[in-house]
Structures are given as structure tokens and as C-alpha cells.
């Protein structure tokens, strides 16, 4: 595949991702407002309180995704120019890694909140492991999967940023030698 074509396809994907991000953020804010309104009724305070907690965490995770989306846009644009790894790429990759770390933490918190919210499904006589069996439904598992994938992303981005740093250094040394 040609570099320019690859860059264009990646940029199209980034645009799709941005549209999806916008929809998700709007949907999340709508649900957060609904849940916050529900807090006014003392009888349903617990249910809506849980919703507010979960929706706020998702909203924060979405906000943390904004800088990496922009960096991804810039980096995919460079793919087509064949500029390769340099200091700027290293800086962007490091920032992406930091944001990815923040997203991982927020998602881990969300998993914890979701597991905590499912406590009423578990009878008191059950052991911790049996309780976990009842709490880990498909939804929690998907979020757990996302959390782990985000953790891997963080480490890989960190590795790539170091690689880019080294490439930039080698380039500088080569320039000096010439």
C-alpha cells in the first residue's frame, strides 16, 4: 500500500473516531443531566447516584481522549509525508501515552464502580469468588477488556516514544557526522 493512501485511510478513520467521540459525549452529557435531575427524588437517590458516578467517569475518560485524537491526526498526516520518527513525534507519543494512562485509570475506576454497584445481586452467604462470578456480566467484561487494552496501549506508546527519541538522536548524530 502506498504511504499516502495509508495516511488518508488512517485520517478517514480518525475523522470517524472524532464523529463517534462527539456522539458519545453528547449522549453521555444527556444521560448525566437526566441522572442528576433524578437525584432530586430521595427514594431513587441510590440508583441515580450510581448513574451519575458512572456517567461522570465515562465523561472524564472521553475528555482525556481528546489530546490523543488530535495527536493521532497529526501523526497519521506525517505518515504520508514520510517524515518518520523525530523529536516532535516522540513528544506527541509521550503525551498520548500519558493520556492513555489517564484513560486506563478512569476505566479501572469505572470497572470498580460497576462491580460495586452489582453487589445487590450477590447473596450474603456467597464467597468473594462466587460473588465475582455473579457480578462479572458481559457489560463489565467489555469495560474490563477496554481497560486492559488501554493499559497495553499506554505501555506500547511509552515504548514507541522512547524509540522515536532514539531515532531522533541518531539522526542528529548522523547530521553532525556529515
Amino acid at each position: 500500500m502506498d504511504n499516502k493512501l495509508l495516511s488518508r485511510s488512517l485520517r478517514a478513520l480518525a475523522l470517524l473516531g472524532a464523529a463517534f467521540w462527539l456522539y458519545l459525549a453528547a449522549d453521555n452529557v444527556y444521560h448525566l443531566v437526566l441522572a442528576a435531575r433524578g437525584l432530586a427524588w430521595p427514594a431513587s437517590y441510590g440508583t441515580f447516584g450510581r448513574s451519575v458516578r458512572a456517567e461522570s467517569l465515562i465523561l472524564l475518560a472521553l475528555a482525556a481522549l481528546l489530546p490523543p485524537l488530535w495527536d493521532m491526526w497529526v501523526l497519521t498526516g506525517r505518515c504520508g509525508t514520510g517524515r518518520g520518527f523525530d523529536e516532535d513525534a516522540a513528544r506527541r507519543l509521550r503525551r498520548m501515552g500519558r493520556c492513555s494512562g489517564a484513560v486506563t485509570t478512569l476505566l479501572a475506576l469505572l470497572v470498580w464502580v460497576m462491580l460495586y454497584d452489582r453487589a445487590d445481586r450477590v447473596p450474603e452467604w456467597m464467597s468473594v469468588l462466587q460473588g465475582l462470578y455473579y457480578r462479572l456480566d458481559a457489560y463489565v467484561l467489555d469495560v474490563l477488556f477496554l481497560t486492559l487494552a488501554s493499559a497495553i496501549c499506554t505501555a506500547v506508546l511509552f515504548l514507541l516514544s522512547r524509540l522515536a527519541e532514539r531515532a531522533a538522536l541518531e539522526q542528529a548524530v548522523n547530521d553532525l557526522t556529515i
Binding site: M1, N3, L6, S9, L10, L13, A14, L16, G17, F20, Y23, L24, D27, M72, T76, C79, G84, F85, L136, D137, A138, Y139, L141, D142, V143, L144, F145, L146, L148, A149, A151, I152, A155, V156, F158, L159, R162, L163, R166
Partner: protein, 179 residues
């Protein structure tokens, strides 16, 4: 980067892979249960909703296959992270290309299950486009769409990395020849 540091990162990454594998196994167990129950429902030809059950079975099967397709990708990633720990550097273009292909297959399976899941929600469009679309795109649907998009982005990024790795290997060969 120091060898010790690389080893620690490699171990951490592989530990995360094991955790992901366990989560996927658990998910696969749930999916298999869903496939089995929808298969049983599909078997009754006298049921007027048999065609809906058939579509449900296909949808569950696609979701199950997409959960199963994660494992080969995890195995390839395991190999890549192991090499990172050994300090072999970036010359893993073959593994990266294989990973990109596996990610593309996973994206296809996820996109298929997205289409099937959307087809079950089409009747919600009856309340008009403005209210129907948000009703269609509920939590589960959004999660799956996000997974599909993420997987597509991963395919592209890994493909681009495989090209970079190939170029790095070519440059290293050239340097070796020059020396």
C-alpha cells in the same frame, strides 16, 4: 533503554496479556452459552418467530467468533513483547504484518455483528430519525461500535508500524553492507 527496564516492561505487558486472555475466556464462556440457547430456540420450525431466532443465532455466533478471534492476536503480541524484552529491537515486520491481518479479521467480525445488532434495532426508527437513532444506539451498541472503530484504528496503526519496521530492517541491512 536499559536491558533491565525493557525486561520489566516486557513482563508487565505479558502479564496484561494474560489478564486480557482470562477476561476473553470468561466472555467466550458467556457467548457460547448465548449461542447454545439461541440455537435451541431456532430449532423449533413451528415457532412464528423462527426467522428472528435464526438472525439472533447468527448475531450471537458472530459475537462469539469475534471473542475467539482475539486469542491468535494475543499469541502474536506475546511473541512481539517477548522479543522486546530480549532487546531485539524493532525488526519484527513479519509478526506486525500478521497482527495487522488478524486485527483486520477481528474488525470484519465485529462489523458483521454490529450490522446484525443494528438490524434488530431498526424498528426503533419508527419514532422518527431524530429520536430513533439515539434509541438504536444504546449502551451495548455504542460499546460494540467503539470496539469496532478501535480495532480498525489498531489495524491501520499496526500496518503503518510494520512498514516502519520493514524500513528499519532494510536500513540496518544497508548499513551492515556498508560497514
Amino acid at each position: 533503554m536499559e536491558r533491565k527496564e525493557l525486561k520489566a516492561i516486557s513482563l508487565l505487558l505479558r502479564a496484561l496479556l494474560v489478564l486480557i486472555g482470562l477476561a476473553c475466556l470468561w466472555r467466550l464462556r458467556l457467548d457460547l452459552y448465548m449461542v447454545r440457547s439461541s440455537y435451541r430456540m431456532m430449532l423449533d420450525p413451528t415457532d412464528p418467530a423462527a426467522s428472528v431466532y435464526r438472525r439472533g443465532f447468527v448475531c450471537d455466533l458472530l459475537v462469539c467468533l469475534s471473542a475467539a478471534a482475539v486469542f491468535p492476536g494475543l499469541a502474536v503480541l506475546w511473541g512481539i513483547f517477548r522479543q522486546v524484552g530480549l532487546g531485539r529491537g524493532f525488526y519484527q515486520q513479519k509478526r506486525l504484518r500478521l497482527l495487522a491481518r488478524l486485527a483486520a479479521a477481528e474488525t470484519g467480525l465485529l462489523a458483521g455483528s454490529d450490522v446484525m445488532m443494528l438490524s434488530f434495532r431498526v424498528d426503533r426508527l419508527g419514532s422518527g430519525f431524530l429520536w430513533g437513532v439515539p434509541a438504536m444506539l444504546d449502551g451495548a451498541m455504542l460499546l460494540y461500535l467503539g470496539l469496532t472503530l478501535g480495532c480498525a484504528a489498531l489495524t491501520g496503526a499496526v500496518w503503518a508500524l510494520s512498514r516502519t519496521a520493514q524500513r528499519a530492517a532494510e536500513l540496518a541491512d544497508e548499513n551492515a553492507l556498508t560497514v
